[in-house]
Chain length 443, copies 2
Amino acid sequence: MTSELQDLFAFLSFPSVSTDSKHKADLLGCAAWLVEKLSRIGLDTDLHETPGHPIVIARNAHVPGKKTVLIYGHYDVQPPDPLNLWDSPPFTPVIRDGKIWARGATDNKGQMLAHILGIEKTLREKAELPVNIILMFEGEEEIGSPCLAPFLMANRNDLKCDIIAISDTGMVAPNTGTLGYGLRGIACAEIKISGPARDLHSGLFGGAVANPATAAAQLVASLHHPDGTVAIKGFYDEVRPLEKWEHDMWAQVPGVTDQDFLDVTGSPSLFGEPGYTSAERTWARPTVEVNGIGGGYQGEGSKTVLPAEAFVKFSLRLVPDQDPGVILQKLTKHLEAHCPAGVRLEIMPGHSGKPYVSDPHSHFGKAAQRALGRTFPGEPMLIREGGSIPIVQAFREILGVDSLLLGLALADAQIHSPNENFPIANFEAGIRLNQALLEELAH
Amino acid sequence: MTSELQDLFAFLSFPSVSTDSKHKADLLGCAAWLVEKLSRIGLDTDLHETPGHPIVIARNAHVPGKKTVLIYGHYDVQPPDPLNLWDSPPFTPVIRDGKIWARGATDNKGQMLAHILGIEKTLREKAELPVNIILMFEGEEEIGSPCLAPFLMANRNDLKCDIIAISDTGMVAPNTGTLGYGLRGIACAEIKISGPARDLHSGLFGGAVANPATAAAQLVASLHHPDGTVAIKGFYDEVRPLEKWEHDMWAQVPGVTDQDFLDVTGSPSLFGEPGYTSAERTWARPTVEVNGIGGGYQGEGSKTVLPAEAFVKFSLRLVPDQDPGVILQKLTKHLEAHCPAGVRLEIMPGHSGKPYVSDPHSHFGKAAQRALGRTFPGEPMLIREGGSIPIVQAFREILGVDSLLLGLALADAQIHSPNENFPIANFEAGIRLNQALLEELAH
């Protein structure tokens, strides 16, 4: 095994699940590993405590006049459950079919480590980097980066840079250079519906009081029209229409045809807002998704209870120019207006982030396209992304710079799902891409 | 502690949860305890193996010419979860405030043991019983008694009797004789809604495929009109209207006013079919209840997945003359017709039982009323029940006899819920009631 893969395996072995407080020590261990690795390759590295998980900052000796590039990544990962669906344990990486299999392999440890190893290689080959570099790695991306924006504000001078590069997005097809210039935003909320003081016998009391599970379902059902469009009043008011050139380019992007979406998801059929392709639905149109619903008996067999309460976890994906705060207000208003009789409704807003879009034909955008052209065959594809990296919006607002999204994640990487994986080829290309990128950005 | 309470504590200590296969040995242990107890008081007792949990049969020496009374009960219990809501462990009975607290205290171990101890007392006092007795105790009532009907068929001659007595229903108020003459039926079903082959990233794929949790909610929502009536086509076709004398009598039954229902359930308000009281809604009108719903992320915090599947567990409570098979067909047809696009629907019918109604003014009905009159002050109340004892319908169909429902369960007994309890007074009254009942039925 190469020393690069050894590093990746060590990095992937930390169960750095940021949403679960019992993994706090694993996050700390993972951050400490990063500090050691970055120090060893010659970067000036600091661990910054936060109210949550720490932020790791590393930099070379900055030279006036050189461009300053900030590379962002995150060392936290999504929870691995359901564990029984993994073919191999999520935090014991293995190589199978030319891919590394582990939670975080693609999202984001594999992609961020490629940047570190690219820098290590350039330093070994040329003793210096063509740019001033700032590496910034956080441990709270999967829970909405609550501590990063305050950190950016507090350290805005130290983090001054010309451009930001992030590899935490999709590559449209294997070996295809992909520049992302837009991301959906997100607004999360959880609701609790409560009725009787405790679970009731459904025979003795069924019919006399409202059923919170039924009421929760009725509330969820109220959020969409039958054609799949969102029924919240004013939900689409601020949505920026898709531009003609985007529609034309996206029609030529490999790997994102409707058939590709069908193959990758394994769904019985596609379903979404009428009048758009799957790529357009996921990159440029907003949605309301149920991430989890629960109430009443969850075990084997039947238990004839009328449950005391039920919950629903929502995430809304937003597009320019929707504002998460405004959308959460509209959602709240909708839920309150549609709450059935006989139950109590509690709405708990969760993390949120604004949508993002930038110009892929800017000075730095063109440099990124050249680096992609040197690393992969053919012209790079210009895409948006369905996922959310709220921090990209924060970078723009607080540091005043745009972000280049140089995605290495394939559609079948199964990020956030069991059997997450990352091709060794993408890992190695990521290392080369970093080297080319820093050269091109230096011009 | 009296020897009667010692017996009850021993009986309640078995975690005889019939729906959960890991408790199989506990069911066997509980049945063996019963066999030993019944044998010790002088009854001829047999343990009958079934494909499920065993049936215990005990009888005295039958004398030709005497009436034969079959007393039915069940030694299995509902699951105790959620465990954290119990004030004391469910299978470690304790006495507090004059009540016995444990899973099964009321449903049904306390009530059935009262019959056994009444017989023991009569045998001790008079050396013989006024009737031929058959005691039949099963271990599968809470999962729909799958083995009891075949057992009745196979042993129909040995089980020949004139009347059946069961204490597994409600007493309308403390110290109030209550004769139940009707029960709701039940039809259970579980549905599974599946979509993508695995949980998906809600950002990358949300908007392009249907969300199974949303689809499950939409299906649940389709089952009711906003006023609480059931929206399944033809659901009310076979419902027998409430009789005038029932409406008048029930209006005088203590403990079942709308305010009582509100107090006992702790719901923020009552909610149900317009035009009926709570007692009428639960005793004489059918319902569709969600017993459990689940899908996607169930843990702490958020996980932005688009879940691969979701489930809903339903129980429908039925009234004369609805047939569970016909109703399940109507439910199936409704669900198939209303299933949203883009998901697969699987419908798994569960256990079912017909509704029951008999004449409380029959020969044996009047004997039961006299026994209740000797045990409790005032005239007995004549009621129906919202719960289901499917086996009562099987007794009528297979053995050709009616059942007297002599309920000792108070509305706040919290059966099927945490902190199930049974007043010591009800336990002791149950013992006296058995003695009076056998005397009255002998006439």
